[in-house]
């Protein structure tokens, strides 16, 4: 079964994910996609009958990069999508379709080209209408098989067009064999998805369906991966879905799920031509007069002229699917993300029950295009400044953006247990953050008193005993996955999750970046003076850069 996976973010995210696990060289039943040969693979794959004569093409996310470039950045290039449809069985596009110039007619033409197994997209509303019609045609003809639905915030009504049904299944043994080949080619976690739900093609982008659907999937996946039991009191999981200029938070509180979305453009518009402007940009980009550190400039470890910065931010938001190649770009994007998360929290506080707005999550999961790739130390810094975890909080990172897809499987009653015992975790633990529940820091008059005595025992190493001092961001390296014994003895008046002055003791799994002790204050408030603030930010940047050299 030929397959094309692509998408503006998904392509390179998946590539990176697989490269990290040295799974780049894969042998499928059709084309072999190996490092350095993607262009050759692509050239062969575009033709129905490849040079190897098999006529079966497995196009890897790696190759999707080229389609990404063509589809996302050339809004008029309909031909490549059409060619893909002619030659391949499935077209899975991410934001690509939303950003192409495909009109309704084009899309119908495209869907009419040949049977497909799933379309995976975040379409615009007009595209959606055409998509609906096309999918209905496919289903009537008995072509479309099974599609997991995943909703976006924009969709208000339940999907009537895409429904997984028991009667729609793979037609026979031949297809199953091809799926097996596909699994082998794609590797975990995609392999897992296909193994457990052959024909289910949904990874992370928007789908048609009720609003709760995607949120439920996100939360279900978060539950599954963080090992929490449902029905617990309090806030169990907080998921941050970070995209350029936007954040969506999903919260499980007392067994109920809540979703809050915020976008600097006022709505999600992944198009290349942005609506200019609708009045929310200037305050939302946050360069002036926003409360509580929700300004971009506040979080930059260098001086930037306001107007230049604003132009840079808007230019970035005009073409959000890019990768920051310089530190300046990267830090501006991270600063924008902080500003957006904080502003979102400010907005959400007015609309959510107070118990949720003030709740302390026991787990944090971070996903989205902004955290897919890049320096993980700096991403961790972003999470710490944005989410401000308190107590002892594990932080999970979803680098491949698989959370919604995995959640869809959970909701469908499928197990996420890996087939192989040592399969890499799709949503790995990044770190566990230890921070006081409430703490004020005076940057003008720093005090060097102790907040707590820490005793950390990593298996096979000497115990580390040290005092926690205020105003620091300290990382304790440990091998990922190892169980770390931690004992925290706070001084009177400080609470690290067990109560004021009470000892916290327990065993924690170490994340990729070990443990992090954050005593920079809760809530985190930066110095008002620019030079002092920039100095601090530079210190913290140096600290997090050391985490991943």
């Amino acid at each position: 079964m030929p397959l094309l996976i692509t998408g503006s973010m998904h392509g390179w995210r998946a590539i990176r994910y697989r490269q990290e696990r040295d799974e780049l060289s894969v042998a499928g039943n059709g084309l072999q996609v190996e490092e350095g040969s993607w262009t050759r693979a692509l050239d062969r794959s575009w033709r129905p009958d490849g040079e190897d004569g098999s006529g079966v093409a497995v196009i890897d996310p790696l190759v999707g990069m080229r389609a990404l470039l063509a589809m996302v950045h050339d809004s008029r290039n309909f031909a490549i999508a059409r060619t893909a449809c002619q030659n391949l069985g499935a077209v899975i596009t991410g934001e690509a379709l939303g950003t192409t110039g495909l009109g309704e007619g084009d899309l119908l033409d495209l869907l009419d080209q040949r049977p497909f197994d799933g379309v995976f997209t975040r379409p615009s509303s007009s595209q959606l209408a055409a998509l609906s019609e096309g999918i209905a045609q496919q289903r009537r003809a008995g072509y479309a098989r099974e599609v997991v639905l995943m909703s976006t915030a924009e969709m208000k009504e339940p999907a009537s067009i895409i429904r997984p049904t028991a009667t729609v299944d793979w037609p026979g043994g031949e297809a199953v064999q091809q799926v097996t080949a596909l699994e082998q080619a794609l590797g975990p976690p995609v392999e897992r998805l296909f193994r457990q739900a052959p024909g289910v093609v949904s990874l992370r982008e928007g789908w048609v369906g009720p609003v709760q659907q995607r949120a439920r999937a996100m939360l279900a996946a978060a539950h599954a991966w963080t090992g929490l039991e449902s029905g617990q009191a309090g806030t169990q999981v907080q998921v941050y879905d970070l995209e350029p200029g936007a954040v969506t938070t999903y919260t499980v509180h007392n067994g109920h799920g809540f979703r809050a979305a915020y976008h600097v453009w006022g709505h999600h518009s992944p198009g290349l031509a942005k609506p200019l402007p609708d009045g929310v940009l200037a305050p939302a980009v946050g360069l002036t007069g926003c409360p509580n550190g929700s300004t971009v400039g506040t979080w930059l470890p260098f001086v930037a002229r306001r107007e230049e910065l604003e132009n840079e931010v808007v230019n970035y938001l005009m073409r959000p699917g890019t990768v920051p190649e310089t530190w300046r770009e990267f830090l501006i994007r991270m600063a924008l993300a902080r500003a957006v998360v904080r502003r979102a929290a400010h907005v959400a506080a007015a609309n959510q029950p107070e118990s949720i707005a003030l709740a302390r999550p026991r787990r944090i999961v971070v996903t989205g295009g902004l955290v897919a790739g890049g320096h993980e130390g700096v991403i961790l810094w972003l999470i710490l400044d944005s989410a401000e975890p308190t107590g002892v909080t594990p932080i999970y990172l979803d680098p491949a953006g698989l959370l919604p897809g995995l959640g869809a499987l959970v909701l469908a009653g499928r197990s996420l247990e890996p087939r192989e015992p040592h399969a890499a975790d799709p949503v790995p633990l990044l770190t566990t953050c230890i921070a006081p529940v409430s703490q004020s820091v005076s940057w003008e008059k720093p005090r060097h008193h102790s907040l707590a005595m820490v005793n950390v025992q990593v298996p096979g190493e000497n115990p580390a005993i040290f005092r926690l001092q205020p105003g620091k961001l300290t990382r304790l390296p440990a091998t990922a996955g190892k169980e770390v014994r931690l004992r925290l003895q706070p001084v009177a008046g400080y609470d690290f999750g067990a109560g004021s002055g009470r000892v916290w003791e327990g065993t924690l799994p170490a994340g990729k970046l070990g443990l992090v002790f954050d005593t920079r204050g809760r809530p985190l408030a930066l110095p008002a003076r620019e030079d002092a603030r920039i100095g601090l930010l530079q210190d913290w940047l140096a600290e997090v850069r050391r985490a991943c050299p």
């Binding site: 992944p270 290349l272 609708d278 009045g279 132009n311 808007v314 920051p324 993980e376």
Partner: protein
Amino acid sequence: MRENHSAVLRNISYRCVRQLLPGSRVLVEEGARVEGGTPIASGVGRVHRVLLPAELHGFTGFRKRPGDSVKAGETLAVLTYQMGFGLAEYVCPVDGVIEAILDRAMVIRDHAASWLAGLPGVVSRVIPDREIEITATGHLIPGWAGSGPAVGGPACLVGELYTPAGIDRALGPQVQGAVVVSLTYTAGRALELAARYGAAALVCASLSYAELAAFAARSGRALPFSLVVLEAFGSSALDPGVREVLEAVRGQELYVDGGRPGEERPVVFVPGERGDDLPSSGLYPGCRVRVLAGAYSGRHGEVWSLPEAVQTTETGYRVLTVDVRLSDGSTVQVAGCNLEITGYSLPAGRASCSTKTS
């Protein structure tokens, strides 16, 4: 060689799609030759909704009934609150007819509008109720950002638009209905004057986003003219190839499309005599690109060779890098996902760029 690196697509065949509303009447047939001002369809009018607050439910302070003709600015409903001390008026946004009064909204259908071709060409496809495609020949300039519908008009080439004196000198009543083309960074005051004197569109090299936002906030949600920013927000200079084309368009008809969110990029089209079909495929050596991020952000060039291996950026991203030949002749490596295809070389140009020589 400049031509190969420039963002301009010279002498191409461009398909412009004019989208129609359901129920509109098509006035042209496939194969018909049209000029910029040729009406191609007449519409049934667009529906507008004026949302009313929940308190108005059952309130009888409506000033209009279904079937009434209304003009833009006329009062539709009045709401009093705080024991009569508060007064809110809901006014009509367009000239049209009240079609219905719903629980929470008034529905107004504006007067039927005609669609003009916008640019000279041949009607190549007609899909009733959906779109009319016109094929034209000339030079296409892809923009960076835009706003507003597709418009056509005579080009009014102005000099610099960044000093108050220069702006006052350049923009006056003569720009009414014209496409103002500024080849430089453009200051916010130019937006004010272009709106005041009724320009159909403004095309500029670059613009400060803060000034645009301030202007838009003053003028309401929609800009009063179509806008295309060619390079970027900020003070980017115009690509030399684009400058060369635009300098030659004084008085000529220009077609400007501000783009549609999520669908089309903004473009400026200069109608010409000759046009060839573009090769249409993905990224390949020879296709023209704009660098979107990184050290060479904003520069134009052409793809020199496709990646063979993955590289790690200093910020930790693992990317496939593409060799790009910039307009100054240097060859640099850029992450593939940081490239925007601005055009394809025509077959001859493509052949000449197929071998990397540096």
